[in-house]
């Protein structure tokens, strides 16, 4: 595709439920990033994939959050037992190879609301 795409655009769920957020990066980009943007804040790093492997998951807030990228392209961010504090916009970005200084291209995000 021409850019990074994310689905769904919006997701409303109830506290305690499980959600999956999908990211489709720019074709050929081996580096993929997930960020979380809370209201009134800048994006905060969650996890970085290089190919199929999570090279850095230091930003995941706790073990309820998990992400996969099984074939090195599409990635899914999974949140178990959602809490109201998980409400935020989840942004995905990709870059060519992950090297220093590369531009990260962002998708439109998924707005998650936990009731």
């Amino acid at each position: 595709g021409a850019g990074v795409s994310q689905t769904p655009s919006n997701k409303v769920t109830e506290k305690g439920k499980y959600v999956e957020l999908r990211c489709d990066p720019i074709s050929g980009h081996t580096a993929l990033y997930w960020y979380r943007q809370s209201l009134g804040q800048g994006p905060e790093f969650l996890i970085y994939f290089q190919g199929t492997g999570a090279a850095d998951d230091s930003g995941l807030p706790n073990d309820r959050f998990f992400a996969v990228r099984p074939e090195g392209s599409v990635s899914t961010l999974k949140i178990q037992r959602t809490e109201r504090g998980d409400s935020a916009v989840y942004l995905c970005a990709s870059s060519q190879s992950g090297s220093l200084g590369e531009t990260q291209y962002f998708g439109p995000g998924t707005r998650l609301l936990v009731l």
Binding site: Y35, P108, G109
Partner: protein, 113 residues
């Protein structure tokens, strides 16, 4: 810890005028990159301009330019001939040897007719 500070939560400028958005950052590394991203209401983060820390020359992209002061750890964005379509949140970000972009809290820019 690396931090990015944007001291202006909101700014307003009239169409065709010039506005400068401020950003300061803190890092102990010598090699890093700085970015300004624009986020309109559509939520899509769009790269406006980038600067490599080892380059002394300030980056320019059409109406957008930066004033990079490495010793002061300052990276301001100047928008010339402001247009209504420039209305958006603007985020300053930097990236060093880590994988993540480190973002400030953003400045909300309103361009008025």
């Amino acid at each position: 810890a690396q931090t990015v500070t944007q001291s202006q939560p909101e700014m307003s400028v009239q169409e065709a005028e010039t506005v400068t958005l401020s950003c300061t950052y803190d890092t102990s590394e010598n090699n890093y990159y700085l970015f300004w991203y624009k986020q309109p209401p559509s939520r899509q983060m769009i790269l406006v301009i980038r600067q490599e820390a080892y380059k002394q020359q300030n980056a320019t992209e059409n109406r957008f330019s930066v004033n990079f002061q490495k010793a002061a750890k300052s990276f301001s964005l100047k928008i010339s001939d402001s247009q209504l379509g420039d209305t958006a949140m603007y985020f300053c970000a930097f990236k060093d040897s880590g994988y993540a972009l480190n973002f400030g809290k953003g400045t909300s820019l309103l361009v008025t007719p």
